[in-house]
Symmetry: C2
């Protein structure tokens, strides 16, 4: 199981880290010892929208071959711009054959621009429901929306709910509950 955490300039750091924490605990808490992951970007250096620097472990390499790809969101206007950036969207499309693709917050606009939400229900930050509508069949106001091979989550802190949901899908309810308690997270998705 190899996971790609996608990062990009002007993303929201918590969208990324809120899912990264529970998913990487599958390995660090020894539930899935063979789990591996990469931090994937198209640029050498990435800063979130408040200037915090992140360092990718893979730069501008195709996403195909990953078992799970997770895409964070950012401020709606900036992410909407990115939906119109051919270089970024082409790169995201290299995840086309990946069996499971997930997004947090306005990350679903990016999945939509890549064509991954055709005929799918999806969610995003409530402030971006209108923008998402042009990219999917139906906008759903739910914390996590599972369409089989595509999972979308609502705003920013829904990253934690998405991460825990993925833990449950990958390793079962009991493991998810152990991770949730270790994260001292009091509301389950």
């Amino acid at each position: 199981m190899n996971v790609a955490f996608v990062i990009y300039n002007n993303m929201t750091a918590l969208d990324f880290i809120g899912a990264y924490d529970p998913v990487t605990r599958l390995k660090t808490m020894a539930f899935m010892p063979d789990l591996t992951w990469e931090i994937c970007a198209i640029s050498d250096s990435v800063s979130d929208s408040a200037g915090l620097k992140f360092t990718p472990t893979r730069v501008n390499e195709p996403l195909q071959g990953f078992d799970l790809v997770i895409v964070p969101g950012g401020v709606t206007a900036l992410v909407y711009q990115l939906t119109q950036d051919p270089a970024f969207i082409s790169w995201l499309q290299t995840a086309r054959s990946c069996p499971l693709i997930a997004s947090v917050c306005t990350g679903s606009l990016l999945l939509g621009a890549a064509g991954f939400l055709s005929n799918k229900k999806a969610t995003t930050h409530p402030n971006a429901f209108k923008e998402l509508a042009e990219f999917c069949s139906h906008v759903v106001d739910q914390r996590v929306v599972d369409e089989g091979n595509i999972i979308t989550a609502r705003g920013v802190t829904a990253s934690i709910d998405l991460g825990l949901y993925l833990c449950e899908r990958l390793a079962g309810h009991a493991v998810k509950e152990k991770i949730r308690r270790q994260m001292d997270y009091q509301t389950a998705p």
Copy 2:
């Protein structure tokens, strides 16, 4: 208002980012336009316990002069080791005169080792209540414990509650609520 986000090797990324998100929104959402912050470490490069790299903006400089210092936690055993690291604890003690110092999760063990919890109530991750007991007057099982100039929060995801609590202390309830809604966070502290 200048905030120091302390980072160090083997910390838990979500302890840091869960507070960083709401606190930096005080500026990015224009409630406190003059808010500034630095990412402070004693080493050039910092990795969390799962290998994610962070880049400090200030390396091995004293923490005095900051208005607020926030210290994340990590895996109890590793943080407990750090409580016995004279170089790290001496550096943390340079925050002694800062008017407000906060911690997430086992970050309170570090505040304790620096002497900041003498005669104070404090909290930490439930798994580390025993370790915290030797550093403070009384361990309290609460999400956020406010002792005036020292605020401690429980485990990992309590970072978000701490961050929102700080938003309320710094900018009032209405601002905190706007930030909480923007974060799509459904349970208030």
